[in-house]
Each structure stands twice: as C-alpha cells, then as structure tokens.
C-alpha cells in the first residue's frame, strides 16, 4: 500500500470493456473517474437507447449507506419527501436542502428496510450526511468505491435480461428493487424515461456482470453508450441534472445561486406534514411569500437547439434562460428546460421568445423564436411502465 494518491482520472471496474469499445476516444471526467462522453457516435448511441438496449456505466455515482435503528428518521430529516411512505424494496427520487431551503443535490433513495437505506447522488455528501445524522442512532457508510453499477436502458432491455437468465425481473414494477441473485441487486430505474433497469454489484463482480449482459445483447441491439446520448434522453424525459438545471448550493461560490425544490417544480416532493426536515421552515416561508424562479419544460420554435439561449417577454424584457436545450430526435421537437424569473414561466406564459445564435459556416445569425411552456415530459411511452414489460 502506497500513501500516494493517483494523479488524474481513475478507472471504474468496467473501464477495460469500455476502453476496448471506444472508437470515438471521447472521455470525460465524472467525479474523478474516466467516463465516456461517447464511445461511437452520439446519434447512434441515442437511437440505441430509444430503439434497442444500452449500457451506461454509472459506477462514478456517489453511494451512501444509512443504517441503524434511526435510519428512517435520518433519511426523513434529510430529504423533503416522506421516506416512511416508501415501502421496502422500493426506490424513490428525492431532493435535499440546506436550512435555507436551497437544494444541495437530488438523487435516488433505495429502501432495503426501515433501518437500511442507500442514497445515490452526483455530489459528495458524506459530511452532510454525518451532520444530518448527528444525535441519531444511525451509521453512514460511503460505498462509492465499493459498488459498481450499470444502467441498462431501452425498449429491449427486459428481453435482454430474460435472455441473460434474469427473467425474475419480469414482475418488477417501475421503482421496484430486488436482490435477483446473491450480490446482484436490480432496480427498475433510469435516467431516460424509457424502459430500463440499473444493476448493482460489488466491484469484484463488475466484469462478470458486463460480460453476461453483453453475451445476451446481440439479438437485442445492445450498445454501450456515453453521457452525451444519455443527456438528450434525460431532457426528453424532463429530468433535471445537477450543475445544469440547478447549481448544488454547496458548490456555488456566489450568493443567491441556490434554488428551492419548489422553484425547480418539485412542490409535490415536499411533504410539510411529515415533521421537521432540513429546510422546512425556509420552504414554508417561500411558499407563503412567493417563489423567485420557475424551472419549466418548454418547446421552442424552429429547428435549432437553444442551449443557453436567453428568454424574453414581448421580445424585450429578459425573463430567463435555457438551462438544458436539445433537438429531440424522437419527438422531432425543439425542447428545453428553462429557468424563468417569477412570475414568468408560471403566472405569465404567453409572448415568450428565445434568442438563439446560430453559426452557419462563419456567419452568425440571431433568431427570435416562440417559446411554449409545457407541463408533461416530452417523451412519454407506455412501454416504460408496462409490467411485465413488452419484448420491445
């Protein structure tokens, strides 16, 4: 054992397989791990998600275990929703705030039992969890470097699991989570809005899992993918991403950059009836005094993606900006998530315009195109929820 730490990006247990598949040689930094931006092309990886089945290595996610007699109480102190309503063997989306009601991060909460939870998220959270658990009879363990995970997403993902001998997932409903085999936990979750699963194993069993899925993948069009393709799907599904659609408040250097769950559109994920939780008082105040911002789903006119575009009311007054914008190849719409200064985006939703700059081979053109506020996810398909899932 050396005391010296490695310099640069380190590898997840799946890297040998990803490395061998990469023709694009496009790597990004995800929490200090090397992670593919794309392995082949974004276009074909994207369509594999929406048409076939795909593997994305989510091992770099931060994973924490909360155990002990008070585990549920700690979780409920932490997150804004009521974890008591989450049944054993279920997964729930959750957000958590500082005492000002500003979102620290969002993630998925896996409930083994009332005394055992796992929390997965983008940001390092160990210290905050320790702070939150202080005075409770609960233990926090950082499992980030012990558990490897793969996200298997796409309409043929169930058929593939069946062929890989994991047909036991058939009766799992969305957000169910089971130990399908010893040391292999499967959740019916994902970041695509499509049919999909996440598979969790100890690091030592990672490659065995990869090879097993890969061997069954041929007839189902299995393709390994990078973040860029996934990002299109998550915008289509209307999911927010830390660092894009909100700034995790613990990482923001400037004051006032934090946003509350209410401002991000997650009022339903805040349960004021469950007792105290971090940020409760501040959120109650905000609910009473009014929100400062509205994060909304929008459709944008024209065919040019609008990432980063400023949004104007009556083409004059600047009232917001696009936080994630993309051309949606499946819905054939120009879609985005956008943050508006209240009351725009909620109270006032008409006469909104996005200012898009387009570089056409060295010539910049400015376009003002209409913005329509939407309520539903852009991508909705019944195959995502069917139980048992359909073959494709």
């Amino acid at each position: 054992m050396t005391k010296h730490v490695p310099i640069g990006l380190i590898e997840t247990p799946f890297q040998p397989r990803l490395q061998a598949l990469s023709t694009a040689k496009s790597w990004t930094n995800w929490a200090g791990y090397v992670s593919p931006g794309m392995l082949d092309t974004v276009e074909f990886e994207y369509f594999a998600i929406r048409n076939q089945a795909t593997l994305f290595d989510i091992s770099p996610m931060h994973k924490y275990r909360l155990t002990g007699p008070d585990a549920l109480r700690v979780v409920n102190r932490l997150v804004t929703r009521d974890a008591a309503k989450l049944r054993d063997g279920r997964v729930g989306y959750a957000l958590w705030c500082d005492e000002e009601g500003m979102v620290i991060d969002d993630g998925t909460l896996f409930r083994f039992s009332e005394t055992d939870f796992r929390l997965c998220c983008q940001e390092p959270m160990y210290t905050w969890l320790l702070d939150t658990a202080w005075g409770f009879d609960a233990e926090i363990t950082d499992e980030s470097d012990e558990i490897a995970a793969l996200s298997l997403q796409g309409p043929t993902s169930f058929s593939l699991l069946q062929d890989a001998g994991l047909e036991a997932v058939a009766e799992m409903k969305p957000f169910d989570w089971r130990e399908i085999e010893p040391d292999l936990w499967v959740s019916r979750t994902g970041f695509t809005g499509d049919l999909g699963y996440e598979l969790w194993v100890p690091n030592g069993k990672a490659l065995e899992l990869w090879d097993r899925l890969w061997a069954a993948g041929g007839p189902w069009g299995l393709k390994a993918i990078g973040f860029d393709a996934l990002n299109i799907c998550r915008i289509e599904a209307g999911f927010i991403a830390a660092g894009f659609d909100f700034q995790p408040v613990h990482t923001a250097m400037r004051l006032g950059r934090g946003r509350s769950p209410l401002e991000l559109g997650f009022g339903k994920m805040v349960d004021f009836t469950k007792g105290h939780f971090n940020g409760r008082r501040a959120l109650l105040d905000q609910q009473k005094n009014g929100l400062r911002y509205h994060l909304r789903k929008i459709e944008i006119g024209g065919f040019k993606p609008a990432d980063g575009a400023l949004i104007y009311h009556k083409k004059k007054r600047e009232v917001g900006h696009v936080t994630s914008g993309v051309w949606s190849p499946t819905t054939k719409r120009n879609i985005a998530l956008a943050e508006f200064k209240a009351p725009f985006g909620d109270g006032i939703t008409d006469d909104l315009w996005a200012e898009i700059y387009v570089n056409e081979e060295g010539q910049w053109n400015k376009r003002l195109v209409p913005v329509t506020v939407e309520d539903k996810p852009f991508f909705i398909n019944s195959r995502a929820r069917a139980t048992p899932p359909r073959p494709f």
Binding site: T41, F44, F47, N51, P219, K332, F392
Partner: protein
C-alpha cells in the same frame, strides 16, 4: 343518401400523401372522409406480415424525405412514429472486395483512398456540389410551384422567390445548376471520380424507381431527389421507420382520426361524381356514394383521370397531357424472411456498414446494360439492387436472432416481354420465380449463403405494385422525376397547383409537385391550396402552412 354521408372534403386513397392532406384539412376544422380500396391504409407506405413473426415494409422501405415540418405539425411521434437512422452502406465486387460507404468522414476518406487516392478529395467536392444543389431545391418542397404565366400576386411572388433564389447563386452556379438538373448521373460522376466501383455505388440513387439509365439525361436530378432528405437535419441521411414504413401511415391515420376524420377501407373509388363541371363526391366500387364539394385524389394523375373520371368532364388537351405523362414501372422488390443473418465473407465481421444499404454493381457500364434489358421488356439479367437488413437495427421486424431483408431491384418492366408479346399479364408464377432467381444469383455475390437462410420471400413486380397499391404501371414516384415533369409542369402544364379542370377536385399525391418518395410534401401543399381556395387558409397552422 342520408345527411351523415355529406362531408366538407373527401380524399380518395389512404396513401401517405392522402392522409397528410386529410390531417391538415381535418385540423383546419373540415369534416373529412378518406376512402381506401384496400382493407388497410398506407398505399405504398405499409408494414404487413406475410410470414408469421416477420414484418415487411412491402413497398417503400427507407425514410429520409419525410418533411420534418410535417412530422412536427402533425405530431406524428405522439402517434407512434419513430425514425431511426442507419449508417453507411457498401458495394460488393465479384473479386471478393467491397467499397464501404462509412458514416465516419475520416474512415470514409481512408476507404476511398484504398480504391483511389484521386477520388478521396474528389468525394468532398462532389458532396459540396450535391449539398449546395440540395440547399437550393429544399425551400421549394413545401411551396407551390410558381406558375410563370399567371399574373396573380401569389404566383408572381412564388416566381420572384424562384428568381431570387436563382439569382443568389450567381451566374456560374446557376449555369451549373441548370446543367445538373438536366444531365445524366453517369456524366456527372465521370466528371468527379475515376474509380468504377465508387461511381457505381453512388449512381444507384440516380436510377432508383426511374425508367432511365445512368447515362440518360435527367438522372442527376433523380440522385438529388434521393439526397435532399434528412434525418434530424443531417442532409442525405437515411433511416428506418420503427415497425416498418406502415408506422408512418398508421401515425398519420391516428392523427387524422383524433382530429375527427373518418376512414372507410375496403372499397375503392369507382368514379368521381361530377355535375356541371363541379365535383360532387365519389361513388365506390361497392355502390356507396359520399358527397362533398371538395374531392382530393391521392391516386396518380393517370389513374384519376383516365380510369375514374368521365371523359365528358375533361378538356381534350388536358386528357392528352395526362396520357403522355410518363409513369413507367421500372422496379421490382423482394422482401425476404431470413432464418439468421447471412454471412458477408468480404466484410469484416460485424462491420457497421452492413447495417446500411448494400449493392453489387461494379461499374456504370454494367448499370447501363441493366437498363438495356428493361428497354427490351426484360428484367435486368445483371440487376442493380438496393438491399438492407432493417432487423439489425429495428427489433420489431423479425423474431430475435432472425432477420428481415428488403431488396429493391432495378430494373424490372411493367409489361414483360414473353415470346414477342409485351404485357403486364406475362408476370405469372413462373416469370416471377425466374426474376427472383436472377436477383438471388446476384445477391450471392455479397452473401453466398443467402438462399440457405431464406425461409420466405415476397416477390413484387411493377405489375403487382399496380394491382395492389394502384400505382399506374407500378411507378413508385407516381410519375417520372424528369425535368419535363417537374415544378410548374408537374403533373401537366397549366395544372401544377394541385388543381384540375374540374372545380373542387384536386390532386394530392406524388404526381403533383414536388414528386415522389415518402415526403408528404404534395399532401401538405395540396391541403394548403385547398384551404386557400375556400377562404380558410387562416385555419392552417404550423410549419407547412
């Protein structure tokens, strides 16, 4: 007839253009009926299962031209349409080599250089020329063709648009454009490339569906017509409709019905009802009559006016122009159910380009000879084919591990010659089998085990396409895409605005501007024209309005 049989508009034929027009009209608030002779909708954009477990795109088989403005206006993805791009393609030669068209530009450059160092740079220049031509023509797709003789402000406006676009090209480029629109694909490729295999690979797009050879003037434009589509803005890219081409028609049908429209299948139009120069409705083969002041025919212009309209209602010159409209059947098709993926011994195992369009033509000369056979009324003894295996990408087309292959064949005549007599009825079990054998022989050049992997094959000749789909002579474009039949001459001079000599009667299929392919532009343009003529153009909204 009861009150319920009266409509604001009737569309005859549930092809993709008829359905597109019907959607726009219904969304504009009209009470619209679509009548269709087959028991299913879609015309030549259909998915049918003829062998259990397999789905064929029986006629049209790839998607690119479908205008995204229309897809978006009609929200077709909401009704189940998903277009999935495919990558690349290849041409296999007899000597066991191949030329692969790679979607990765640098890999393509390396591949071209492998065959000819000269052609590697030439390809970029060729692409630039073709894409510039595409950029010039694309704005016209969702506009009416200008009428150069009309003094109506709108026609003058359209003409000015054409002149402005043309003027913007400059003298040299405009000259090149006119050359390009009238020259042969063979001459055009000879100007750019030296390698026969590469030339043959590209030339296919200039003859597909066309009763012309690679050295016939006008075929360069046909190539342009095939290149000017896009998938998500990538000009020239092609894709599959998930679930086959019927997914397009089914999405249009669902959109139409949700907009309040009615579709009646199972009986075709016997005749268009005309009274005193005005259309009044349609009479179906089964005797039913439906009435409406607007009737739009999705049938080709020949079928519409020579078979289903009383000649007493039509000016003689018009009938003459319709009769001379070129609509020659030149293509056949095989849809094959495969037990397993065939081997392609020449290609690297699992090469991505095998998921694209595959061919076996080796030179322009060979393609020209294939055309010679067709002129004589025979199918090409050494045919050109455009072959794809969509089930490698689309899991819905065949059982897991099995595959579906589509083979578009150029050339096959409509009126087959047997014993000195040319007739469509010469296509029988024996001749169709011999035609298929000839195609299988050629397929073996790419995949020698193709016969042993085949479990079922549907053989389609131009005659079959006419009988089933209704396309005259089985011409896939509802009329040749040559300069004499384009823009303000399509389908016939003087009637290029979707109108006809009969008041209230319209042409909405690919016989009209801008022509064939699963583009839906003629349908949308015709709907716009109809609504304008009845003073309701304000009711049409969206990108195609």
């Amino acid at each position: 007839m009861g009150q319920h049989d009266r409509y604001d508009a009737i569309v005859a034929g549930a092809g993709h253009n008829g359905l597109t027009a019907a959607c726009y009209l219904a969304k504009a608030g009209l009470k619209v009926l679509v009548v269709e002779k087959n028991d299913w909708i879609g015309g030549a954009a259909v998915s049918r299962s003829l062998h259990e477990g397999w789905t064929y795109s029986n006629c049209s088989y790839v998607c690119s031209l479908l205008r995204r403005e229309i897809v978006r206006d009609l929200e077709l993805p909401k009704y189940g349409l998903q277009v999935i791009p495919y990558e690349g393609g290849a041409s296999f030669s007899r000597d066991g080599d191949y030329f692969a068209y790679m979607s990765d530009h640098d890999a393509l450059r390396r591949e071209i250089s492998r065959h000819s160092a000269h052609d590697a740079d030439a390809y970029d220049r060729f692409s630039q020329t073709v894409i510039r031509q595409c950029r010039f023509i694309r704005p016209f797709l969702l506009r009416n063709a200008p009428d150069p003789t009309s003094l109506k402000p709108r026609d003058i406006g359209e003409l000015l648009f054409l002149i402005r676009q043309a003027h913007g090209l400059g003298k040299k480029e405009l000259g090149e454009t006119l050359r390009f629109w009238s020259m042969s694909i063979g001459d055009f490729l000879d100007e750019h490339f030296e390698n026969d295999l590469i030339k043959a690979h590209i030339a296919g797009a200039g003859i597909i569906g066309t009763g012309l050879g690679v050295y016939s003037p006008g075929t360069a434009y046909v190539l342009l017509h095939h290149y000017m589509g896009d998938v998500d803005g990538a000009i020239g890219a092609w894709g599959f409709a998930r679930g086959g081409m019927g997914a397009i028609s089914n999405a249009l049908g669902a959109c139409f019905e949700e907009a309040g429209g009615t579709i009646v299948t199972g009986s075709g139009v016997d005749r268009f009802l005309v009274d005193n120069g005005k259309v009044t409705g349609v009479a179906l083969d089964n005797g039913d009559e439906y009435h409406a002041p607007i009737v739009a025919s999705n049938m080709d212009v020949k079928r519409t006016f020579l078979q289903h309209t009383g000649q007493q209602h039509l000016p003689g010159d018009f009938v003459k122009a319709v009769k001379r409209f070129k609509i020659r059947g030149s293509s056949g098709k095989l849809n094959i159910a495969l037990d397993a993926l065939p081997e392609f011994p020449a290609a690297p195992k699992g090469a991505p380009f095998l998921r694209g369009d595959l061919h076996c033509a080796e030179s322009l000369n060979e393609l020209e000879r294939a055309y010679d056979d067709w002129k004589e009324g025979r199918w090409s003894q050494n045919p050109y084919f455009d072959m794809l295996i969509p089930s490698q990408i689309d899991p819905t087309m065949a059982p897991p591990g099995k595959h579906m292959m589509t083979v578009f064949v150029q050339y096959a005549p409509y009126d087959l010659e047997v014993g000195g007599v040319r007739a469509g009825t010469n296509w029988n079990g024996q001749t169709r089998g011999a035609f298929a054998d000839c195609v299988f022989d050629k397929l073996e050049q790419a995949c020698p085990d193709i016969r042993s992997k085949t479990v079922h094959a549907e053989i389609r000749t131009p005659w079959d396409i006419e009988q089933e789909v209704g396309l005259t002579e089985g011409n896939i474009f509802q009329g040749e895409l040559t300069f004499d039949q384009l823009l303000f001459n399509r389908p016939v001079p003087g009637y290029a605005q979707y109108d006809t000599p009969i008041d209230g009667m319209y042409i909405v299929g690919s016989s009209a501007h801008p022509g064939g392919g699963v583009m839906a532009a003629p349908g949308a343009n015709a709907a716009r024209e109809i609504l304008r003529n009845i003073g309701r153009s304000g009711n049409m909204t969206g990108y195609a309005a």
